[in-house]
Protein backbone atom coordinates (compact mmCIF):
# COMPACT_ATOMS: atom_id res chain seq x y z
CA UNK A 1 0.00 0.00 0.00
CA UNK A 2 2.67 2.50 1.10
CA UNK A 3 4.94 1.32 -1.70
CA UNK A 4 2.21 1.88 -4.28
CA UNK A 5 1.61 5.34 -2.88
CA UNK A 6 5.32 6.19 -3.05
CA UNK A 7 5.47 4.93 -6.60
CA UNK A 8 2.49 7.03 -7.64
CA UNK A 9 4.01 10.09 -6.00
CA UNK A 10 7.33 9.61 -7.78
CA UNK A 11 5.41 9.31 -11.01
CA UNK A 12 3.56 12.57 -10.26
CA UNK A 13 6.91 14.24 -9.53
CA UNK A 14 8.31 13.14 -12.88
CA UNK A 15 5.28 14.43 -14.76
CA UNK A 16 5.49 17.67 -12.79
CA UNK A 17 9.16 18.22 -13.69
CA UNK A 18 8.58 17.39 -17.37
CA UNK A 19 5.64 19.75 -17.49
CA UNK A 20 7.63 22.64 -15.99
CA UNK A 21 10.38 22.10 -18.56
CA UNK A 22 7.75 22.16 -21.25
CA UNK A 23 6.27 25.47 -20.03
CA UNK A 24 9.68 27.12 -20.05
CA UNK A 25 10.45 26.03 -23.60
CA UNK A 26 6.97 26.91 -24.81
CA UNK A 27 7.14 30.41 -23.30
CA UNK A 28 10.52 31.04 -24.92
CA UNK A 29 9.29 29.93 -28.33
CA UNK A 30 6.01 31.86 -28.03
CA UNK A 31 7.69 35.14 -27.06
CA UNK A 32 10.32 34.70 -29.75
CA UNK A 33 7.83 33.92 -32.49
CA UNK A 34 5.39 36.64 -31.47
CA UNK A 35 8.12 39.31 -31.54
CA UNK A 36 9.11 38.24 -35.05
CA UNK A 37 5.44 38.06 -36.02
CA UNK A 38 4.84 41.63 -34.91
CA UNK A 39 7.98 42.80 -36.71
CA UNK A 40 6.74 41.42 -40.01
CA UNK A 41 3.21 42.77 -39.47
CA UNK A 42 1.51 39.59 -38.27
CA UNK A 43 1.20 40.02 -34.51
CA UNK A 44 0.16 36.98 -32.50
CA UNK A 45 -1.82 38.67 -29.77
CA UNK A 46 -2.75 35.50 -27.91
CA UNK A 47 0.90 34.52 -27.44
CA UNK A 48 1.29 36.74 -24.39
CA UNK A 49 -1.83 35.43 -22.68
CA UNK A 50 -0.85 31.82 -23.25
CA UNK A 51 2.70 32.55 -22.05
CA UNK A 52 1.36 34.10 -18.86
CA UNK A 53 -0.98 31.16 -18.30
CA UNK A 54 1.90 28.71 -18.73
CA UNK A 55 4.14 30.85 -16.55
CA UNK A 56 1.78 30.80 -13.58
CA UNK A 57 1.75 27.00 -13.69
CA UNK A 58 5.47 26.66 -14.38
CA UNK A 59 6.39 29.11 -11.63
CA UNK A 60 4.36 27.59 -8.80
CA UNK A 61 5.01 23.97 -9.76
CA UNK A 62 8.68 24.96 -10.03
CA UNK A 63 8.44 26.34 -6.52
CA UNK A 64 7.18 22.97 -5.36
CA UNK A 65 10.13 21.25 -7.00
CA UNK A 66 12.39 23.81 -5.28
CA UNK A 67 10.91 22.89 -1.90
CA UNK A 68 11.29 19.20 -2.68
CA UNK A 69 14.91 19.65 -3.71
CA UNK A 70 15.59 21.54 -0.49
CA UNK A 71 16.39 24.76 -2.35
CA UNK A 72 14.39 27.29 -0.34
CA UNK A 73 16.69 29.57 1.62
CA UNK A 74 16.35 30.74 5.18
CA UNK A 75 18.39 32.88 7.53
CA UNK A 76 20.16 30.72 10.08
CA UNK A 77 22.88 32.83 11.63
CA UNK A 78 20.78 33.29 14.77
CA UNK A 79 19.11 29.90 14.94
CA UNK A 80 22.34 27.99 14.26
CA UNK A 81 23.61 29.20 17.63
CA UNK A 82 20.69 27.64 19.49
CA UNK A 83 20.85 24.12 20.92
CA UNK A 84 19.99 21.50 18.31
CA UNK A 85 16.80 20.57 20.14
CA UNK A 86 15.46 24.13 20.02
CA UNK A 87 16.41 24.38 16.37
CA UNK A 88 14.47 21.23 15.69
CA UNK A 89 11.40 22.49 17.55
CA UNK A 90 11.49 25.75 15.57
CA UNK A 91 11.95 24.00 12.22
CA UNK A 92 9.09 21.64 12.93
CA UNK A 93 6.87 24.53 13.99
CA UNK A 94 7.65 26.45 10.79
CA UNK A 95 6.89 23.45 8.62
CA UNK A 96 3.53 23.01 10.36
CA UNK A 97 2.72 26.71 9.90
CA UNK A 98 3.72 26.56 6.24
CA UNK A 99 1.44 23.58 5.71
CA UNK A 100 -1.43 25.41 7.41
CA UNK A 101 -0.80 28.53 5.30
CA UNK A 102 -0.78 26.47 2.11
CA UNK A 103 -4.00 24.80 3.21
CA UNK A 104 -5.59 28.23 3.62
CA UNK A 105 -4.48 29.14 0.09
CA UNK A 106 -6.23 26.02 -1.19
CA UNK A 107 -9.34 26.57 0.90
CA UNK A 108 -9.76 30.12 -0.42
CA UNK A 109 -8.21 29.59 -3.84
CA UNK A 110 -10.72 27.03 -5.07
CA UNK A 111 -13.81 29.14 -4.24
CA UNK A 112 -12.10 32.12 -5.91
CA UNK A 113 -11.68 30.08 -9.09
CA UNK A 114 -15.33 29.09 -9.02
CA UNK A 115 -16.88 32.40 -7.98
CA UNK A 116 -14.96 34.44 -10.53
CA UNK A 117 -15.07 32.05 -13.43
CA UNK A 118 -16.49 34.82 -15.63
CA UNK A 119 -13.28 36.83 -15.53
CA UNK A 120 -11.63 36.57 -18.94
CA UNK A 121 -8.16 36.87 -20.37
CA UNK A 122 -7.35 40.05 -22.29
CA UNK A 123 -7.08 38.65 -25.81
CA UNK A 124 -8.53 35.19 -25.75
CA UNK A 125 -11.82 33.70 -24.69
CA UNK A 126 -10.58 31.72 -21.73
CA UNK A 127 -11.49 32.00 -18.09
CA UNK A 128 -8.82 33.54 -15.88
CA UNK A 129 -9.68 30.81 -13.37
CA UNK A 130 -7.26 28.58 -15.26
CA UNK A 131 -4.51 30.90 -14.07
CA UNK A 132 -5.82 31.20 -10.53
CA UNK A 133 -6.10 27.42 -10.26
CA UNK A 134 -2.32 27.10 -10.58
CA UNK A 135 -1.89 28.21 -6.97
CA UNK A 136 -4.24 25.83 -5.13
CA UNK A 137 -3.05 22.89 -7.22
CA UNK A 138 0.63 23.71 -6.61
CA UNK A 139 -0.08 24.43 -2.95
CA UNK A 140 -1.46 20.92 -2.63
CA UNK A 141 1.77 19.47 -4.01
CA UNK A 142 3.77 21.83 -1.79
CA UNK A 143 1.93 20.48 1.23
CA UNK A 144 3.07 16.98 0.30
CA UNK A 145 6.67 18.15 -0.19
CA UNK A 146 6.65 20.10 3.06
CA UNK A 147 5.02 17.16 4.80
CA UNK A 148 7.82 14.84 3.69
CA UNK A 149 10.32 17.42 4.86
CA UNK A 150 8.53 17.68 8.17
CA UNK A 151 8.76 13.94 8.57
CA UNK A 152 12.49 14.13 7.90
CA UNK A 153 12.88 17.00 10.37
CA UNK A 154 11.32 14.85 13.06
CA UNK A 155 13.18 11.62 12.28
CA UNK A 156 16.57 12.85 11.06
CA UNK A 157 16.89 16.56 11.81
CA UNK A 158 20.60 17.21 10.99
CA UNK A 159 20.13 16.06 7.39
CA UNK A 160 17.63 18.88 6.77
CA UNK A 161 20.06 21.65 7.76
CA UNK A 162 21.89 23.69 5.20
CA UNK A 163 24.97 21.80 4.08
CA UNK A 164 23.45 18.51 5.21
CA UNK A 165 21.11 19.15 2.35
CA UNK A 166 19.53 16.39 0.36
CA UNK A 167 16.34 16.11 -1.62
CA UNK A 168 13.43 15.45 0.64
CA UNK A 169 11.82 13.07 -1.81
Amino acid sequence: MLEALKKTYRCVCTIEERFISFTLCAITVLIFVSAIGRFVGRPINWAVDISLLLFAWGAFLGADVGIRKNRVINVDFLTSRLPLKTQKTLAVAWSVIIILFLAVLIAYGIPLCISNFKRQFQNITLSYSFVTASLPVSAFLMIISTGIRLHLQITDFPSTLRGGGRDVA
Binding site: A35, R38, F39, G41, R42, P43, N45, V48, D49, L112, S115, N116, K118, R119, Q120, F121, Q122, N123, T125, Y128
Partner: protein, 309 residues
Protein backbone atom coordinates in the same frame (compact mmCIF):
# COMPACT_ATOMS: atom_id res chain seq x y z
CA UNK B 1 -22.87 66.14 9.59
CA UNK B 2 -25.25 66.81 6.75
CA UNK B 3 -25.62 63.10 5.96
CA UNK B 4 -26.03 60.90 9.01
CA UNK B 5 -24.92 57.25 8.93
CA UNK B 6 -24.96 54.69 11.71
CA UNK B 7 -22.12 56.24 13.68
CA UNK B 8 -19.54 53.86 12.26
CA UNK B 9 -16.64 54.93 10.04
CA UNK B 10 -16.26 53.65 6.50
CA UNK B 11 -13.53 53.90 3.92
CA UNK B 12 -13.66 53.47 0.15
CA UNK B 13 -10.53 53.03 -1.96
CA UNK B 14 -10.79 54.18 -5.56
CA UNK B 15 -8.45 52.27 -7.86
CA UNK B 16 -7.43 53.06 -11.43
CA UNK B 17 -4.63 52.41 -13.87
CA UNK B 18 -4.64 56.12 -14.72
CA UNK B 19 -1.91 58.37 -13.42
CA UNK B 20 -2.45 60.72 -10.52
CA UNK B 21 -2.43 63.76 -12.79
CA UNK B 22 -5.36 62.49 -14.89
CA UNK B 23 -8.57 64.57 -14.62
CA UNK B 24 -10.37 61.50 -13.23
CA UNK B 25 -8.05 61.35 -10.24
CA UNK B 26 -8.43 65.06 -9.68
CA UNK B 27 -12.19 64.44 -9.80
CA UNK B 28 -11.88 61.71 -7.18
CA UNK B 29 -10.01 64.05 -4.87
CA UNK B 30 -12.73 66.67 -5.22
CA UNK B 31 -15.36 64.03 -4.56
CA UNK B 32 -13.42 62.69 -1.57
CA UNK B 33 -13.36 66.14 -0.05
CA UNK B 34 -17.09 66.65 -0.42
CA UNK B 35 -17.96 63.18 0.88
CA UNK B 36 -15.77 63.72 3.93
CA UNK B 37 -17.39 67.08 4.60
CA UNK B 38 -20.92 65.86 4.16
CA UNK B 39 -20.45 62.85 6.44
CA UNK B 40 -18.40 64.63 9.06
CA UNK B 41 -15.39 62.47 8.14
CA UNK B 42 -17.24 59.22 8.73
CA UNK B 43 -16.99 58.12 5.12
CA UNK B 44 -13.54 58.61 3.62
CA UNK B 45 -12.52 58.10 0.01
CA UNK B 46 -8.87 57.37 -0.81
CA UNK B 47 -7.40 57.37 -4.30
CA UNK B 48 -4.98 54.70 -5.60
CA UNK B 49 -3.73 55.69 -9.07
CA UNK B 50 -1.32 53.84 -11.39
CA UNK B 51 -2.72 50.36 -10.71
CA UNK B 52 -1.21 50.25 -7.23
CA UNK B 53 -3.80 47.76 -6.04
CA UNK B 54 -3.48 45.59 -9.14
CA UNK B 55 -4.72 45.53 -12.71
CA UNK B 56 -8.32 46.63 -13.28
CA UNK B 57 -9.33 42.99 -13.68
CA UNK B 58 -7.67 42.14 -10.36
CA UNK B 59 -9.40 44.99 -8.58
CA UNK B 60 -12.80 44.10 -10.05
CA UNK B 61 -12.24 40.64 -8.61
CA UNK B 62 -11.30 42.23 -5.27
CA UNK B 63 -14.49 44.30 -5.31
CA UNK B 64 -16.62 41.23 -6.01
CA UNK B 65 -14.88 39.40 -3.16
CA UNK B 66 -15.78 42.17 -0.74
CA UNK B 67 -12.82 44.55 -0.58
CA UNK B 68 -13.81 48.19 0.04
CA UNK B 69 -12.66 49.27 -3.37
CA UNK B 70 -14.15 51.06 -6.39
CA UNK B 71 -12.65 50.58 -9.86
CA UNK B 72 -12.62 52.68 -13.00
CA UNK B 73 -13.69 50.33 -15.76
CA UNK B 74 -14.88 50.43 -19.35
CA UNK B 75 -17.91 48.64 -20.74
CA UNK B 76 -15.72 45.98 -22.37
CA UNK B 77 -14.61 44.57 -19.04
CA UNK B 78 -18.17 44.55 -17.76
CA UNK B 79 -19.12 42.54 -20.84
CA UNK B 80 -17.33 39.55 -19.29
CA UNK B 81 -20.11 39.56 -16.72
CA UNK B 82 -23.10 40.78 -18.77
CA UNK B 83 -22.25 40.32 -22.42
CA UNK B 84 -24.65 42.89 -23.87
CA UNK B 85 -23.04 45.82 -22.07
CA UNK B 86 -20.06 45.37 -24.39
CA UNK B 87 -21.92 47.07 -27.21
CA UNK B 88 -21.35 50.45 -25.58
CA UNK B 89 -17.62 50.01 -26.18
CA UNK B 90 -17.90 49.29 -29.91
CA UNK B 91 -16.65 51.60 -32.64
CA UNK B 92 -19.11 54.34 -33.63
CA UNK B 93 -21.75 53.11 -31.24
CA UNK B 94 -22.32 56.70 -30.15
CA UNK B 95 -21.30 59.96 -31.77
CA UNK B 96 -20.68 61.99 -28.64
CA UNK B 97 -21.05 62.17 -24.87
CA UNK B 98 -24.67 63.38 -24.95
CA UNK B 99 -25.65 60.41 -27.02
CA UNK B 100 -23.92 58.05 -24.63
CA UNK B 101 -25.86 59.64 -21.78
CA UNK B 102 -29.08 59.09 -23.67
CA UNK B 103 -28.30 55.38 -23.93
CA UNK B 104 -28.08 55.23 -20.15
CA UNK B 105 -31.72 56.26 -19.89
CA UNK B 106 -32.85 53.26 -21.95
CA UNK B 107 -34.40 50.11 -20.54
CA UNK B 108 -31.62 48.16 -22.24
CA UNK B 109 -29.03 49.85 -20.05
CA UNK B 110 -31.04 49.75 -16.83
CA UNK B 111 -31.74 46.05 -17.22
CA UNK B 112 -28.08 45.20 -17.74
CA UNK B 113 -26.94 47.30 -14.82
CA UNK B 114 -29.44 45.44 -12.67
CA UNK B 115 -28.05 42.13 -13.95
CA UNK B 116 -24.56 43.24 -12.95
CA UNK B 117 -25.71 43.87 -9.40
CA UNK B 118 -28.05 40.95 -8.89
CA UNK B 119 -26.28 38.18 -10.75
CA UNK B 120 -22.64 39.27 -10.50
CA UNK B 121 -22.29 41.29 -7.32
CA UNK B 122 -21.10 44.38 -9.19
CA UNK B 123 -22.71 47.70 -8.26
CA UNK B 124 -22.39 50.55 -10.74
CA UNK B 125 -21.91 53.84 -8.88
CA UNK B 126 -22.13 55.82 -12.11
CA UNK B 127 -21.18 55.18 -15.68
CA UNK B 128 -20.76 58.73 -16.92
CA UNK B 129 -16.99 59.20 -16.58
CA UNK B 130 -15.99 60.33 -20.05
CA UNK B 131 -12.39 60.30 -21.19
CA UNK B 132 -12.87 61.73 -24.67
CA UNK B 133 -13.00 60.37 -28.19
CA UNK B 134 -10.26 58.07 -29.42
CA UNK B 135 -8.40 58.74 -32.66
CA UNK B 136 -5.76 56.92 -34.66
CA UNK B 137 -2.25 58.32 -34.24
CA UNK B 138 0.18 57.33 -36.96
CA UNK B 139 3.21 58.35 -38.97
CA UNK B 140 1.37 58.44 -42.28
CA UNK B 141 -1.90 60.27 -42.88
CA UNK B 142 -5.05 58.14 -42.67
CA UNK B 143 -8.14 59.36 -44.50
CA UNK B 144 -10.06 56.16 -45.19
CA UNK B 145 -10.05 52.57 -43.85
CA UNK B 146 -7.83 51.36 -46.71
CA UNK B 147 -5.05 53.65 -45.47
CA UNK B 148 -4.84 51.53 -42.31
CA UNK B 149 -4.12 48.32 -44.18
CA UNK B 150 -1.09 46.57 -42.65
CA UNK B 151 -0.61 49.38 -40.13
CA UNK B 152 0.16 47.89 -36.71
CA UNK B 153 -1.92 49.76 -34.18
CA UNK B 154 -1.72 49.23 -30.46
CA UNK B 155 -5.13 48.72 -28.89
CA UNK B 156 -6.42 47.20 -25.64
CA UNK B 157 -6.97 43.47 -25.95
CA UNK B 158 -10.70 43.02 -25.24
CA UNK B 159 -12.67 41.78 -28.28
CA UNK B 160 -14.86 44.92 -28.54
CA UNK B 161 -11.70 46.97 -29.10
CA UNK B 162 -9.49 44.71 -31.15
CA UNK B 163 -12.27 43.49 -33.46
CA UNK B 164 -13.42 47.06 -34.00
CA UNK B 165 -9.91 48.24 -34.81
CA UNK B 166 -9.46 45.31 -37.19
CA UNK B 167 -12.80 46.14 -38.85
CA UNK B 168 -11.59 49.71 -39.37
CA UNK B 169 -8.69 48.31 -41.40
CA UNK B 170 -5.71 48.20 -39.05
CA UNK B 171 -3.72 45.29 -37.58
CA UNK B 172 -4.41 45.38 -33.84
CA UNK B 173 -1.41 44.78 -31.57
CA UNK B 174 -1.91 44.29 -27.87
CA UNK B 175 0.59 45.70 -25.40
CA UNK B 176 0.62 47.78 -22.26
CA UNK B 177 -0.14 51.46 -22.86
CA UNK B 178 3.06 52.58 -21.22
CA UNK B 179 5.10 50.48 -23.68
CA UNK B 180 3.66 52.39 -26.63
CA UNK B 181 6.20 55.23 -26.69
CA UNK B 182 9.18 52.89 -26.83
CA UNK B 183 7.45 50.48 -29.18
CA UNK B 184 6.71 53.24 -31.69
CA UNK B 185 10.15 54.74 -31.40
CA UNK B 186 11.66 51.32 -31.93
CA UNK B 187 9.22 50.57 -34.78
CA UNK B 188 7.75 47.53 -33.07
CA UNK B 189 4.37 49.12 -33.91
CA UNK B 190 3.28 51.84 -36.36
CA UNK B 191 0.91 53.77 -34.16
CA UNK B 192 -1.82 53.65 -31.59
CA UNK B 193 -5.40 54.71 -31.04
CA UNK B 194 -6.11 56.78 -27.99
CA UNK B 195 -7.91 59.72 -26.46
CA UNK B 196 -6.05 63.02 -26.35
CA UNK B 197 -5.47 63.12 -22.60
CA UNK B 198 -3.62 59.80 -22.75
CA UNK B 199 -1.74 60.64 -25.96
CA UNK B 200 -0.48 63.92 -24.61
CA UNK B 201 0.41 62.35 -21.27
CA UNK B 202 2.57 59.74 -22.99
CA UNK B 203 4.25 62.41 -25.20
CA UNK B 204 3.41 60.45 -28.37
CA UNK B 205 3.89 63.69 -30.31
CA UNK B 206 7.61 63.04 -30.01
CA UNK B 207 7.35 59.86 -32.05
CA UNK B 208 4.14 60.18 -34.11
CA UNK B 209 3.15 62.69 -36.75
CA UNK B 210 -0.57 62.53 -37.54
CA UNK B 211 -3.75 62.82 -35.50
CA UNK B 212 -6.34 61.16 -37.71
CA UNK B 213 -9.65 62.33 -36.31
CA UNK B 214 -11.66 59.14 -36.59
CA UNK B 215 -13.31 59.52 -33.16
CA UNK B 216 -14.13 55.84 -33.43
CA UNK B 217 -14.57 55.18 -29.72
CA UNK B 218 -16.34 57.45 -27.26
CA UNK B 219 -14.36 56.35 -24.26
CA UNK B 220 -16.85 55.95 -21.49
CA UNK B 221 -15.88 54.67 -18.08
CA UNK B 222 -17.83 53.73 -15.02
CA UNK B 223 -17.05 53.33 -11.37
CA UNK B 224 -18.10 50.08 -9.82
CA UNK B 225 -17.93 48.65 -6.31
CA UNK B 226 -18.68 45.23 -4.96
CA UNK B 227 -22.27 44.65 -3.86
CA UNK B 228 -20.83 42.84 -0.84
CA UNK B 229 -19.15 45.93 0.59
CA UNK B 230 -21.81 48.34 -0.67
CA UNK B 231 -24.53 46.51 1.21
CA UNK B 232 -22.68 47.01 4.51
CA UNK B 233 -23.15 50.77 4.17
CA UNK B 234 -26.10 52.55 5.76
CA UNK B 235 -28.67 53.53 3.13
CA UNK B 236 -27.89 57.21 3.51
CA UNK B 237 -24.24 56.65 2.61
CA UNK B 238 -25.20 54.45 -0.31
CA UNK B 239 -27.37 57.21 -1.71
CA UNK B 240 -24.63 59.76 -1.06
CA UNK B 241 -22.04 57.78 -3.01
CA UNK B 242 -24.37 57.23 -5.96
CA UNK B 243 -25.22 60.93 -6.02
CA UNK B 244 -21.66 62.17 -5.70
CA UNK B 245 -20.16 59.82 -8.30
CA UNK B 246 -22.89 60.77 -10.78
CA UNK B 247 -22.34 64.44 -10.09
CA UNK B 248 -18.57 64.36 -10.25
CA UNK B 249 -18.68 62.19 -13.38
CA UNK B 250 -20.59 64.93 -15.14
CA UNK B 251 -18.28 67.69 -13.92
CA UNK B 252 -15.19 65.74 -14.96
CA UNK B 253 -16.68 64.87 -18.35
CA UNK B 254 -17.18 68.56 -19.08
CA UNK B 255 -13.60 69.25 -18.08
CA UNK B 256 -12.29 66.41 -20.23
CA UNK B 257 -14.20 67.61 -23.28
CA UNK B 258 -12.84 71.11 -22.79
CA UNK B 259 -9.32 69.84 -22.19
CA UNK B 260 -9.38 67.54 -25.24
CA UNK B 261 -9.22 70.56 -27.52
CA UNK B 262 -6.47 72.07 -25.42
CA UNK B 263 -4.45 68.84 -25.62
CA UNK B 264 -4.97 68.69 -29.38
CA UNK B 265 -3.74 72.25 -29.69
CA UNK B 266 -0.66 71.48 -27.65
CA UNK B 267 0.11 68.39 -29.73
CA UNK B 268 -0.21 70.43 -32.92
CA UNK B 269 2.14 72.95 -31.39
CA UNK B 270 4.59 70.12 -30.82
CA UNK B 271 4.48 69.38 -34.53
CA UNK B 272 1.62 66.95 -35.08
CA UNK B 273 -0.78 67.38 -37.95
CA UNK B 274 -4.54 66.93 -37.75
CA UNK B 275 -6.09 64.87 -40.54
CA UNK B 276 -9.83 65.02 -41.19
CA UNK B 277 -11.10 61.60 -42.24
CA UNK B 278 -13.89 60.13 -44.31
CA UNK B 279 -16.18 59.42 -41.36
CA UNK B 280 -18.91 57.73 -43.39
CA UNK B 281 -16.44 55.20 -44.77
CA UNK B 282 -15.12 54.39 -41.29
CA UNK B 283 -18.63 54.05 -39.87
CA UNK B 284 -19.51 51.65 -42.64
CA UNK B 285 -16.36 49.62 -42.06
CA UNK B 286 -17.14 49.33 -38.35
CA UNK B 287 -20.31 47.36 -39.03
CA UNK B 288 -18.33 44.22 -39.72
CA UNK B 289 -17.32 44.12 -36.05
CA UNK B 290 -20.96 44.33 -34.88
CA UNK B 291 -21.83 41.41 -37.12
CA UNK B 292 -18.84 39.42 -35.95
CA UNK B 293 -19.64 39.87 -32.26
CA UNK B 294 -23.40 39.46 -32.73
CA UNK B 295 -24.34 43.02 -31.74
CA UNK B 296 -26.06 44.10 -34.99
CA UNK B 297 -29.65 43.45 -33.85
CA UNK B 298 -28.98 44.86 -30.43
CA UNK B 299 -27.73 48.11 -31.87
CA UNK B 300 -30.82 48.53 -34.02
CA UNK B 301 -33.04 48.11 -30.98
CA UNK B 302 -31.13 50.64 -28.89
CA UNK B 303 -31.00 53.21 -31.66
CA UNK B 304 -34.73 52.86 -32.00
CA UNK B 305 -35.20 53.48 -28.29
CA UNK B 306 -33.11 56.68 -28.30
CA UNK B 307 -34.59 57.76 -31.64
CA UNK B 308 -31.37 57.69 -33.67
CA UNK B 309 -31.46 57.21 -37.47
Amino acid sequence: AEVEGDGKSYELMVSTQLADSHPFCQGFYALAKRVAERTGGKLTVKVFPSAQLGSDEDVIEQAIQGVNVAVVTDAGRMANYVKNIGIVGMAYFADNYDEVMKVQQTNFWKENVKKLAEENGIRVLSFNWFDGARHFLTNKPVKKPEDLKGVRIRTPGAPAWSRSVAALGATPVTMGWTDVYNAVQQKAIDGCEAQHSASYGLRVYEVLKYINKTAHFQLLNGLIVGEKWFSTLPASYQALLLEEFEKQGKITAAEVIEKSDVFEGMMVKEGMEVVEVDLAAFKKASEAAYDELGFAEQRKAIYKEIGKE
